[in-house]
Point group: C2
Chain length 205, copies 2
């Protein structure tokens, strides 16, 4: 069913499709047309059909999409139904805010531990927090597949090397250092890039 070479733009839209479909599923709605989806999202009905067709298409003309089926398929496609084990490094303000408030499981990951060079609480929101000196042993034993990085930028390369060595497959990067490395998937969440883009768009308005 899966096709290769799906464009990055399509992939970036999948989470929004998933969330909308998930809301419908939770509300016990059983089917939905591409026109109704278009009303809830900011895309046209034809773009929605086109995007979902990249993955084989799940709709039937005159019926629309089966919500429960599409919801499951999108979970499969995104891979968010597995609870991939993840760790977080750097329990400062942002790291702590993520541990306390962010629903990792909803987005496909189970946060199993946090690390910092100084540990003030041995757990935050039921996630155990360890000293960074224990990191490598913990990784060897527990084999997390993703790491959230909320450390100062001068430490980024050191951690990326360590992750690759231990076959961590992805990094959710909140440092201001851009990570682009063929050996690890990276999502760079860069607040200042985002805010500068907003600044430009305000100026152009």
């Amino acid at each position: 069913m899966m096709e290769k070479n799906i464009s990055t733009a399509v992939i970036k839209r999948l989470p929004r499709y998933y969330k909308t479909i998930k809301e419908l599923a939770v509300a016990n709605i059983t089917r939905v047309s591409s026109a109704e989806l278009a009303g809830r999202l900011s895309f046209t009905a034809s773009k929605i059909r086109q995007d979902l067709n990249c993955f084989g298409g799940f709709g039937q003309q005159g019926y629309g999409y089966n919500v429960a089926y599409l919801c499951n398929e999108l979970e499969e496609i995104l891979g968010i139904n597995k609870g991939i084990p993840a760790i977080l490094i750097g329990t400062g303000n942002i790291g702590t805010a993520l541990i306390n408030n962010f629903d990792f499981l909803y987005s496909g990951f189970k946060l199993i531990a946090g690390f910092d060079i100084r540990v003030f609480n041995d757990n935050i929101n039921n996630v155990p927090i360890y000293n960074a000196s224990e990191l490598e042993r913990f990784i060897e034993k527990n084999k997390p597949k993703m790491a959230v990085l909320t450390v100062p930028r001068n430490q980024v390369q050191k951690y990326v090397k360590l992750f690759i060595k231990h076959e961590i497959k992805g990094v959710w990067n909140f440092t201001n250092e851009y990570i682009q490395n063929p050996d690890i998937a990276a999502e760079n969440v860069n607040f200042s890039d985002s805010l500068m883009t907003l600044c430009y768009n305000i100026k152009e308005k």
Copy 2:
């Protein structure tokens, strides 16, 4: 000098150009070639030349780019040299982390106040925090042009309406509600979209 219809992709890359050039300027480096920039960024030299040409081009063949000049020009283009007045609504974990740690001025904004429905500290990191009941009066008087939104998603539409009414030009949106409105520029920072994209990319590796 400015040209219209610059693609979103180019605009998204400008902050990374700016940061790299700014670092060179701070290090008192006076000129740089597109090849050297390519070595510091993950783009090719020809893409860099092409991107900067969208804005008139600043380089000279055989000399490269004048760092101080390019730095100033990028600040102008992005509009980040004005310290646009901004407010923040919602001083929970993420809001407080932003006030405490994020350098708004570097990205073009001056954070002049924070608001919440319950105020525990009347200032955070020297930014005054007011009760949300004072928000509209404050906006009328101080005319901020940007608002950071870190509130529960069911309150988003109410605030967006208020912002548009008072000619706030942009919103930096940390709620999970996507904002797309022709009357206001929005940057949607959506953590779960980002993490689901990472999940997909890990699965495909």
